[in-house]
Subunit: 245 residues, 2 copies
């Protein structure tokens, strides 16, 4: 048996997220079915590092798969890109140590959330940004982002209904960059809870709009309740940038 | 009566081009129908400067319309953007001198054609570039572009079946920029024949691939025949950047 490590990029607009679903087409299923042509017709299980939601994109999703065949990594990449729809591309295939698991062995991930502040949202951004065309206090948003950096119990920033109980995570980096017309929220950390980046983006937007104070973040963290944080920002602004091992 | 000048941007992927069609949805029709809410239900005729083809995009299409109402340009822009699909946005509405016509009064247009040379085409580029992942001699392409600059009879670079007989045009600028992984062909001129930029892009690509010599351009121009030039590059790489008056 060999283990392969795949790096993937995708436009998540038309898919039900990464994880295989029974009633909707997920990226995992599309990749597994493309892979079946290499494994005698039986789709293998391909494990992705991040379970991106419906409408969320990836520049550097990582996945692992165990195979028995002897095809070279480059020929696997080419065969997959021949079969996959153009919305999903394999950027790289490399040999991994046997038993490598893209999700369990990940030590960190980086996400980017993009907000467009310009009055008119370009058609070319409509699937790739959240349109927030109202006055925003970017300095207050940056101050709030600073309070979120570091190690905290992020229970308030987890989608409600999630069963995960250890909700402490370390945000190694959380920066908000004003590019003029757009704001880029870059988050890197050892792990992320469900909807965590999107709830952070929604909360920061509410700080920027003056609906919350920048210094209210410690209280939100302290509350350990989803209700304490802001709305979940829409999925299309989010991109999984990369995974660290 | 007043005449308004509209600047529009659109993602042309899902439309049958600018010009109204009987059997497919064109951008002109969508804009006219959005406009009908301002004109008592009757869609006015909106004239676009460039008849972009199906799949071709615009950053700065210009259109003109004659109206009787008294709404301000800003309220017209806002009302249209409320009604239009997010793939089509009105960037600006201004008062024009009465009788201004976006197409007849245009004195120049600028187009950009984008080619991606990287081995894998990013999902985010799939509707916005031509994928040419083979070795290309960019210097030869640039030399060919230089021979096409200036005033020529571009009959060889016009879609076959077109009835226009005065095929002399001036390309004020035709530059090919290598951005590393992508080539940008920027064309500005007093007017463009049907498919002209796409046939130029296709011909330059054939020069780059070594199927034609860079110094064969004068012969192609001389031939005054569509058969003498290269293939028409696909529409998705093309964007109408702006119109001059």
């Amino acid at each position: 048996m060999r283990t392969l490590k795949l790096t993937l990029t995708y436009d998540g607009t038309d898919y039900a997220g990464w994880q295989r679903q029974t009633n909707a087409l997920a990226i995992q299923q599309v990749v597994e079915e493309a892979f079946a042509h290499l494994t005698g017709g039986v789709p293998p299980t391909i494990s992705g590092a991040g379970r991106t939601d419906s409408g969320v994109h990836a520049m550097g999703q990582v996945a692992s798969v165990n195979v028995e065949f002897e095809h070279s990594p480059l020929s696997v990449q080419r065969a997959l890109n021949m079969r996959l729809p153009p919305a999903i591309r394999v950027l790289e295939v490399v040999e991994a140590r046997m038993g490598f698991h893209a999700r369990f062995h990940a030590t960190g991930k980086a996400y980017r959330y993009r907000m467009v502040t310009a009055p008119v949202l370009s058609p070319f951004d409509r699937h790739f940004a959240w349109h927030v065309p109202w006055p925003l206090d970017v300095r207050a948003m940056q101050q709030a982002a600073e309070s979120l950096s570091g190690t905290h119990d992020f229970a308030s920033f987890q989608a409600s209904g999630t069963t995960i109980t250890d909700t402490t995570r370390t945000l190694e980096r959380l920066t908000l960059t004003d590019r003029g017309g757009e704001l880029l929220l870059d988050a890197a950390g050892d792990g992320f809870l469900r909807h965590m980046v999107r709830i952070i983006a929604g909360t920061l937007m509410e700080v920027g709009a003056g609906h919350r104070r920048a210094d209210s973040i410690p209280d939100i963290i302290e509350a350990r309740s989803r209700d304490a944080a802001g709305k979940t920002a829409p999925p299309q602004g989010l991109t999984l940038m990369g995974v660290r091992y």
